[in-house]
């Protein structure tokens, strides 16, 4: 499914820009890499794996934070979870 997130232009400083709507978003911490992974088509398990490998965090915390992040993306209509 094509989402706005796939078309976001993302720079290394965490600024994402939607070229169609002109909206800008500021991504902090792991969000930058998570968006990059989503743009490459990473699935939920790959995102979780990334958090566990890159951050000193237990799985339940990573799961919770990932769900919050993905929920925020959905709320902002940038991304939709696979049905």
């Amino acid at each position: 499914m094509t989402t706005i997130l796939e078309n976001l232009l993302l720079n290394d400083r965490g600024i994402a820009f939607d070229p169609a709507s002109g909206e800008t978003y500021r991504l902090v911490g792991p969000a930058v890499q998570l968006v990059r992974l989503l743009q490459k088509g990473a699935d939920d398990a790959a995102l979780l794996q990334y958090l566990l490998e890159e951050y000193d965090v237990d799985e339940s915390t990573a799961r919770r934070d990932l769900d919050v992040f993905l929920g925020t993306l959905e709320q902002m209509k940038l991304w939709e979870a696979a049905p």
Binding site: L9, F17, P19, A20, S21, G22, E23, T24
Partner: protein, 367 residues
């Protein structure tokens, strides 16, 4: 003035809270034609661009457009005796209609302008926009016209609130109930004449598209922005370039239907709830932010000069990449009272008799 350098007249020099396009056009022209001689045509000695360092090479006062075509032509003839400009970029809504009706007279004098016919100009006027939009498959806000306050209030109750009330040329106010509508409509009718245009308020982000029509239904280029900051009066204080095929296609349909020649600015709102672009206005001129795309390599003012001089530019105006933004930056310019007095007297324009009448009224406004 250097031989063979273009000699270009530009109007609309004021840059303040509600800036006019002329000063930005001149900056764009100088970027491409550094030797150009620019003649500023001003309606008020307090237009800030008169005194800007990068402003016109000389300035002449003009009678207000309401004085009519003959008065404008007389003044242009007198100015050209001193400085025979042969290219003219009018930039103000109030003068476009008059100069569009004078296209033949201007051509006879060897003055090249790029303006639509009166018929085409009328088709994009606020009161006729719904019919044009319907032909192009473009949404417009539900719209009613009124020629008096009572009719406006009746229309208001039918459309529902909040509403935007507009004058035929300038000014727009948002009203939330009948009393506000009555006051606003009365003010607009007395200030700008009839009709007032009532539109259902559309909530969403504002988008502007500027471009240059080729007169055959195509365009030489366009640039789309989303306004990111608005002033209290709804003017864009900042904007960011966007690239949305849906938006470009919609504007291309309008330009094709009108076979629009020359500069235009299309104003739209992307409705928050539906994501639809809703057409608000088509302005028959460049906007005040015209120099922004020029700084990105898309010099529409220069392309217009190419169009006027050679019939077509060397190539299309390049696209502006999405994600570049502008912020309006206001600075003070130093006005010199000697210069001010010279303008009022008609010096160095050597047109004292022609300048006497507007000068006296403008002195009062300055005081």
């Amino acid at each position: 003035m250097k031989a063979h350098a273009p000699c270009i007249a530009v109007s609309g020099l004021h840059r303040g809270e509600n800036p006019q396009p002329g000063a930005g056009i001149i900056r764009s022209l100088r970027r491409r034609f550094p030797d150009a001689f620019v003649v500023g045509l001003s309606y008020d000695v307090m237009e800030s661009g008169i005194y800007a360092e990068d402003g016109p090479d000389e300035v002449h006062l003009m009678p207000y457009p309401a004085a009519g075509g003959a008065a404008l032509l007389d003044r242009i003839d007198a100015i050209r005796k001193r400085t025979p400009f042969d290219l003219f970029i009018p930039t103000l809504d109030a003068e476009i209609e008059v100069f569009a009706s004078l296209r033949r007279e201007l051509a006879q004098r060897g003055i090249a302008v790029c303006l639509p016919s009166i018929d085409v100009l009328k088709r994009r006027a606020k009161q006729y926009l719904p019919a044009l939009a319907a032909l192009c498959g473009v949404r417009v806000p539900e719209t009613c016209l009124a020629s008096d306050v009572a009719t406006a209030c009746q229309a208001g109750s039918e459309l529902g609130y909040p509403l935007v009330v507009k004058g035929p040329y300038y000014d727009a106010k948002i009203v939330h109930h009948a009393a506000q509508l009555s006051t606003a409509a009365g003010h607009l009718l007395s200030e700008w004449g009839h009709p007032v245009i009532l539109q259902r308020l559309i909530s969403g982000s504002e988008f502007n598209v500027l471009g240059l029509g080729d007169g055959d239904g195509g365009w030489l280029g366009h640039c789309c922005i989303r306004k990111t900051q608005l002033s209290d009066k709804g003017k864009g204080l900042s904007g960011i370039t966007v690239a949305d095929a849906r938006l470009s296609s919609l504007c291309a349909r309008l330009v094709r239907e009108l076979k629009w020649p020359g500069p235009f600015e299309i104003e739209l709102i992307r409705e928050e709830t539906t994501g639809d672009y809703v057409l608000i206005e088509i302005n028959p001129r460049f906007p005040a932010w015209i120099d922004f795309p020029s700084m990105l390599g898309a010099n529409f003012a220069a392309a217009l000069i190419d169009l006027l001089q050679h019939g077509c530019p060397p190539g299309p105006v390049p696209d502006c990449p999405p994600g570049s933004f502008y912020i309006r930056h206001q600075i003070e310019v130093v006005g010199d009272l000697n210069r001010y007095a010279e303008l009022l007297k008609g010096e160095p324009n050597a047109l004292p008799s022609l300048l006497d009448e507007p000068a006296s009224s403008k002195t009062k406004s300055f005081a």
